[in-house]
């Protein structure tokens, strides 16, 4: 399918965050979500299905209005799944989304 056939392109915006544990954007927000693939997402030691993610989790996040999405290189997360996650977070008012491929929790 030719990409040029799509005249109505839209976009999802995000920031590209560095991978070190000194990164301010990722460490500052408590809203760190680890994509595990197959629509599974991990947040604060609990694993959820993306569509079953409890609303209480997201209401905590609303005050910060930012989230960090961490896609680990060893998972089979597709671009479509990443977009679904970005869509879901934006629909819940998280407008500043930082994307990183690996992250180490600060000690």
């Amino acid at each position: 399918m030719l990409s040029s056939t799509f005249s109505q392109w839209h976009q999802l915006s995000f920031s590209n965050t560095t991978q070190t544990n000194n990164t301010t954007a990722v460490t500052k927000t408590p809203n760190r979500f680890l994509l595990l693939g197959l629509n599974k997402i991990k947040h604060q030691d609990r694993t959820y299905n993306l569509d079953q993610l409890e609303f209480e989790v997201l209401t905590q996040s609303l005050s910060q209005q930012q989230a960090a999405i961490i896609v680990t290189p060893n998972t089979k997360v597709t671009i479509q799944e990443l977009v679904n996650t970005l869509d879901y977070f934006k629909a819940h008012g998280l407008n500043q989304i930082h994307l990183t491929s690996s992250y180490t929790e600060p000690q």
């Binding site: 399918m1 990409s3 040029s4 392109w9 999802l12 920031s15 994509l35 997360v77 671009i79 799944e81």
Partner: protein, 154 residues
């Protein structure tokens, strides 16, 4: 005498017929040219992507930003930077290539901090294909990205 007169009339009629049809064609040609000029002036010639991919579907309604740097990753994993195919495996080489594009592609007015990049990536690719691109751009202090999508109803 009578025969000669009739022949003259016939010849006169035949010679008149083509000139009448030519007269009818002229407004038609005028209209065609006017339409051609209108579409040339009013039309928008968009730069076409040279590659094939199926974009991810999204509920986002935000129109795609015009940016100076567009990176395309096709279903077969080929990478294009501003419609030039990137050959090479090493992230270092990719970083160099991106740096060259930022310097040469009329991006001098941008500082890399303010530069925004559009990513057009096939929806079924693994998200890890973004890693080398994001790493390369991160080292060049490019941190703002737009992932191109299409409407979920498309």
């Amino acid at each position: 005498m009578w025969i000669n007169h009739k022949t003259e009339i016939l010849i006169a009629q035949q010679s008149k017929t083509p000139s009448t049809s030519e007269t009818h064609l002229i407004p038609l040609i005028n209209i065609v040219f006017l339409m051609l000029i209108f579409f040339m002036v009013a039309g928008h010639i968009a730069e076409q992507d040279t590659t094939e991919l199926i974009p991810p579907q999204s509920t986002s309604k935000q129109g795609l930003t015009e940016t100076a740097l567009t990176i395309i990753i096709t279903a077969d994993g080929n990478l294009w930077i501003n419609n030039q195919q990137f050959f090479g495996e090493s992230p270092k080489r990719l970083e160099e290539q991106l740096q060259t594009h930022i310097k040469t592609s009329h991006l001098n007015s941008h500082t890399s901090n303010s530069l925004e990049v559009v990513l057009k990536v096939d929806s079924q690719l693994s998200a890890k294909v973004l890693d080398p691109v994001l790493q390369g751009l991160r080292t060049l202090n490019v941190n703002k990205f737009h992932l191109a999508t299409i409407d979920t109803n498309t």
